[in-house]
């Protein structure tokens, strides 16, 4: 499209913007905002929760959200290079968490667990990362690579199949019972930072998640491999012509996504110390939501989307629903999470950071 054409197109576009649909959309946006703001106003002015409790809710949200963000990275990166949603990713996360449980359980009887929590935590993280990476790469090799070039719906359906396969394989291996993660005593209790009381386990989760996200960002932006990933995601055919081995790059994308899911699995075990073979489903769906929220295909978007979803989920019911005196509003936290997705998409149809991507691809 030439510059002149763009200029010519503008007035036409402006006229077409004032349609009944856009009026309706704006009405919807304003109504949604009004409902949220009025609910929040009622809820805050009732003084039900103290300032420190609101702050706690936000911290809880950030810590859950940063785990969502880590998982969401896998969805968004795979979408970036292959343009399909890998629904088996939630299971990759679950397998990591399961391995973390077994390693932690084995370590918990040793003196290392009590005396050197950081080393044991690193061992647990590493074991979870290796397992998840392996599973992610194997799934790619068995379930997705043979379908390269097939219509996009085919690998999508396959990924649902892969998800069930992994779930029931794990069920067969470890049984259907819920496993209780061993406690890590040094991680219990709270840190106090200038009157700011935060649970230690949440500090660890937030710090670890942010570190991993920073490393990933640097990896994708600064290294040669990262560059090839971006190239494949931009245009796989041209990347191949430039001498990039597309299949190898795709494997690397799955491996990195799997490693992030593994870290998320181990961290999940720290915050929510019970898991079974089905534990990957809900976090997986939430992470997928985060990826869409942030703008699917966009790495920073997935991080932002995850953290925002965590905060919406944690604060939303108390802030908006409680204001309208809805009974048992805490039960509706998933409703809040998905409504938040709809609301964000009403305002920004491509997600929080989706615009940039759409333009680049356009």
């Amino acid at each position: 499209m030439t510059q002149a054409a763009t200029v010519d197109a503008r007035p036409v576009r402006r006229v077409s913007r004032i349609t009944p649909v856009s009026i309706f959309l704006w009405g919807l946006r304003i109504a949604a905002l009004a409902v949220i703001l009025y609910g929040s106003f009622l809820s805050i002015s009732s003084g039900r929760l103290s300032a420190s409790q609101w702050r706690d809710l936000i911290v809880f949200g950030v810590s859950t959200g940063s785990v969502y963000a880590l998982i969401a990275l896998g969805y968004t990166m795979v979408y970036g290079v292959l343009r399909f949603i890998n629904f088996a990713h939630g299971e990759v996360f679950m397998v990591g968490a399961m391995m973390a449980f077994y390693v932690a359980n084995g370590l918990s009887t040793t003196s290392l667990w009590a005396n050197n929590p950081i080393v044991s935590l690193l061992i647990v993280l590493l074991a979870a990362m290796i397992t998840s990476t392996t599973v992610a790469v194997v799934v790619e090799r068995i379930a997705y690579r043979p379908l390269r070039g097939a219509p996009r719906l085919i690998p999508l359906i396959t990924s649902i199949g892969a998800s069930f396969t992994i779930q029931y394989l794990v069920r067969g291996l470890v049984g259907p019972s819920t496993k209780a993660f061993p406690r890590m005593e040094p991680l219990r209790g709270t840190f106090e930072l200038g009157g700011f009381v935060i649970l230690r386990s949440q500090v660890v989760v937030i710090v670890a998640a942010l570190t991993m996200m920073l490393l990933l960002y640097l990896f994708v932006e600064k290294t040669r491999t990262g560059k090839s990933m971006r190239a494949v995601s931009e245009d796989a055919e041209t990347a191949a012509l430039m001498g990039i081995d597309v299949d190898r790059t795709i494997v690397k994308v799955f491996a990195v996504g799997g490693a992030m899911a593994g870290v998320a699995g181990a961290l999940w075990g720290l915050v929510f110390p019970s898991l079974n073979f089905f534990s990957g489903f809900l976090p997986g769906i939430k992470a997928f939501t985060s990826a869409v929220l942030g703008g699917i295909g966009n790495i920073v978007g997935a991080m932002l989307g995850g953290v925002s979803l965590g905060i919406f989920e944690s604060v939303g019911p108390s802030l908006v629903l409680a204001g309208y005196e809805i009974p048992a509003f805490s039960q509706l936290k998933d409703v809040v999470a998905y409504s938040a997705l709809v609301l964000v998409l009403i305002f920004r149809p491509t997600g929080i950071l989706g615009e940039r991507l759409a333009q680049e691809r356009g």
């Binding site: 929760l49 989920e313 108390s318 149809p349």
Partner: protein, 449 residues
């Protein structure tokens, strides 16, 4: 270009919705068709048999309107089991299936016909499992009675399916008032004639828990948490009603979902409401998370945790976060007959009973077998069991079981229960020890029922 991408995303979501809808729809459809087949089958069998075999023979008895089950020479009297035998609540159902097996062995023959546990279905502790399992069982027209379900949530559809096929459903652990009545004469919305239970009604358990919290612990402000299941809802509302009647206040009545992991927001709300105790009669694993995270939320350091029989299991009381928790639950039976039963249980399965309702299931099985035996009429080598007579017999008989004297009221509540309040302290190593650490016991008459 933007719209194209939007469309693609929409298409993806639409496909996902279709896939999910297809899965759900398929299951439902299957259930529905089998239900109709199943419910019709017994009626047709009964219709065929009525004139030809029973009425035509020398038996003077008129067959009841529900028809008869005829057990041929050398065939077994079939009963079914529908309990939660997988997942996190597997201990609840497994315990009862074992008790039923022991009861069948103890009962022996019915006029020369052996009793057979023909079905061992899984109620999955949910409505879907209850519906599917009940449908599978009644598809066999020879089944006379079903022992189950474990969970009230599964009992709601199972009671409907099984009793409308003319069979009897008798549960050793359903406790929700909706399945029978509120014990003061109001029929529960899900009550069907032909449903019985030997477990307590939660109207009593709720009142016992409320009385203990108010009188013994001296607390006046509590929070309740349910998970939307009929059992947890019934119990929390019974508790709330009794507690308010005693003069206490319900600081907050809230709910979580059964698969929720992050309980901190709801616990923050509870802390803000200023509750001194949290009563959460839910299941694992939600109960694990709630107890664990309650230790971490500011403002709940002194708050007492209390669960109910659904959490009083071998896998829950061993968790470190459940230390010092109180539980309400049915009284552990005492006496030589119970000890003998436990001896058989241990000899057969290599461990002590793992939940609270094994004796109730044992009583339920023996009670229904006694009723069948009382009404069964020999017809040559065949055995004719009138289904309406089985129900009538269950309503009129008094049965002395391990859990006390059982006689069923018009809504199917058979127990006159005692409720124990127990505590899990550091000293208690396993479920048997916790159940033996009784803090208070309330009988139905103590509570005015």
């Amino acid at each position: 270009m933007k719209t194209k991408r939007g469309l693609k995303l929409l298409a993806l979501l639409a496909v996902l919705t279709l896939v999910i809808a297809a899965c759900g729809g398929g299951e439902g459809g299957e259930d529905e068709t089998t239900t109709t087949a199943g419910t019709e089958e017994p009626t047709t069998t009964a219709g065929e048999e009525e004139p030809t075999t029973t009425a035509g023979e020398e038996e003077p008895m008129e067959p009841g309107e529900l028809g008869v089950v005829e057990v041929g020479a050398g065939e077994n009297v079939k009963i079914g089991s529908l309990q939660a035998i997988s997942g996190d609540v597997a201990s609840l159902g497994t315990d009862q299936v074992r008790a039923t097996e022991i009861a069948i062995a103890d009962f022996g023959d019915i006029q020369g016909h052996a009793v057979e546990l023909a079905f061992n279905e899984d109620d999955t502790c949910g409505a879907e499992g209850g519906q599917a399992g009940a449908t599978r069982i009644i598809a066999d027209p020879q089944v006379v009675a079903v022992i189950g379900t474990s969970c009230s949530g599964a009992g709601v559809p199972a009671s409907n399916v099984i009793t409308s096929a003319g069979r009897v459903l008798i549960s050793g652990s359903n406790t929700s008032p909706v399945l029978t009545s509120d014990l003061v004469g109001n029929e529960g919305p899900e009550h069907h004639p032909g449903y019985f239970r030997t477990a307590h009604n939660d109207a009593i358990q709720g009142a016992a828990a409320a009385q203990f919290v108010f009188d013994e612990l001296g607390l006046t402000s509590v929070a309740t948490v349910n998970d939307g299941d009929p059992y947890t809802q019934g119990l929390t509302s019974a508790f709330e009603a009794s507690f308010e009647e005693l003069g206490g206040t319900i600081a907050i009545s809230t709910a979580v979902t059964a698969d929720q992991t992050d309980m901190r927001p709801v616990l923050t709300e509870i802390a803000a409401a200023g509750a001194e105790l949290i009563f959460f009669p839910i299941f694992q694993p939600a109960g694990d998370f709630l107890a664990e995270q309650a230790l971490e939320v500011a403002g709940l350091e002194e708050t007492i945790l209390m669960g109910a029989d659904g959490l009083l299991s071998d896998t829950y009381v061993v968790l470190p976060q459940t230390e010092n928790m109180y539980f309400s639950g049915p009284q552990t039976p005492q006496g030589p007959a119970y000890d003998e039963f436990v001896g058989k249980y241990e000899a057969e399965y290599g461990e002590a009973p793992i939940q609270s309702f094994h004796a109730h299931a044992y009583d339920a099985t023996l009670m229904v077998l006694t009723a069948i035996s009382n009404v069964a009429q020999a017809d040559g080598d065949n055995l004719v069991i009138d289904l309406q007579a089985v129900r009538d017999e269950l309503h009129s008989m008094t049965y002395d079981g391990l859990t006390g004297s059982l006689s069923c009221d018009e809504f199917g509540d058979c127990a006159s229960p005692n409720i124990d309040i127990v505590q899990n302290t550091e000293a208690e190593a396993d479920i048997a020890a916790v159940r033996a650490n009784v803090q208070a016991t309330y009988s139905a008459s103590d509570l005015g029922f």
